[in-house]
Symmetry: C2
Subunit: 229 residues, 2 copies
């Protein structure tokens, strides 16, 4: 990996949000021997599309394949240029070149994904730094403006909740209204009133209703729903 392989000044970062029924977690990398934490990110080869670079890099660094990623903002402030921090990371990897291309200023294109983290286990390759899930309420301090990137990802997700949930594989094909409410509550970070939530969902035209979930007591069984295609 050097400055002739990758486009200079262009990076990406990814906010991988994991959901497991009741809580949101975020995938965070730790750079070996630095105590520095960051979002999983990477760079774009001269001969690859930006979106392909993100998928490739994410797979290399976290082992996650074929997840649905959505670009949400490009961060281009000068304040994100912190060569001292980058030098610490390079030094920990035995690189001491003062003209290293990574010491330059980068803009970063940010992506987010929302996945069921029981379905995917991050497995970084042997060369990568370690990564693990952190509860969204208990993230370690992150380098550069990565905390701002996380905040903006969550805000984007909340703003687009109705449109974005479809296709995100957070829920099984068929689910109950209670399952759906738990997803909304964990993303919005607050409890919702059951009757209001149910009425709004049914009015939203997002859902198709199916047969009741069999439980032996038919009158108590909840209806199953799926997202309308």
């Amino acid at each position: 990996m050097d400055g002739t392989t990758y486009l200079s000044h262009v990076a990406y970062d990814s906010v991988i949000i994991g959901f497991s029924g009741d809580e949101l977690k975020i995938l965070i990398m730790e750079y070996h021997n630095t105590g520095l934490f960051a979002l999983p990110g990477g760079f774009v080869r001269h001969d690859e599309d930006l979106n392909d670079a993100v998928r490739r890099g994410l797979q290399e660094r976290t082992g996650l394949k074929n997840i649905f990623l959505e670009q949400f903002y490009t961060f281009g402030s000068r304040k994100r240029h912190q060569p001292k921090v980058m030098r610490k990371i390079l030094n920990a990897n035995g690189v001491t070149d003062d003209q290293h291309w990574l010491l330059d200023r980068f803009i970063s294109v940010a992506y987010y994904a929302l996945i069921n983290y029981n379905d995917v286990v991050p497995k970084p390759d042997a060369l990568s730094d370690s990564c693990r899930w952190y509860s969204i309420d208990n993230l370690p301090p992150l380098i550069f403006e990565h905390e701002e990137i996380v905040s903006r990802a969550i805000q984007t997700l909340r703003d687009n909740l109705n449109r974005k949930l479809i296709g995100m594989n957070l829920l099984p094909d068929k689910f109950t209204m209670k399952d759906l409410q738990q997803v909304y509550e964990s993303i919005l970070g607050k409890k919702l009133r059951r009757t209001t939530f149910q009425r709004e969902m049914l009015n939203s035209n997002l859902l198709v209703r199916h047969d009741k979930l069999f439980s032996g007591k038919a009158h108590k069984a909840p209806y199953l729903y799926s997202f309308r295609n």
Copy 2:
């Protein structure tokens, strides 16, 4: 302007959408002596934030100041790299350097704005190429993937219509329901049913109702509304 002033590989493009009561128009640049049309765009200086670069460049190229710009997507496909087209533009400006930095591959961060085009007259500075408004239904062929950038800007605007209209200065501080419906119809590109539109807007909690517009016949005067802060 040369390759040491600007970040390599990073560009921006802007989709400036003008509204004048009933029709959407888009601001398009024509490069002198080339027959090539493009969105107004530019580059980022090493010492300026991305968002500042966009504001500066737009003012230099179009004369538009202080408009509300919103970033919506970053285009990073390799297919947007078309050095032949760029060479034609450079040649028309007397530049024949085969290693010119503009011949490199760029990713482009795209922004859109929605303005009342009666309020602002584009005035490119003496060095700039010409720019003028084109009806959205009658754009000239655009270079690179600029037509895709326009489509995505319009789609983003439609998706976010309720949230984005506020603060966009498209309407006076107080406006009638009919004024508002015309804005929606021109952005959505279709006629809406008056009674349905009015009910949805009143239910949306977006609006504050004020006194009636005085017209002499009080019972026929329409109510005035403003956006809730």
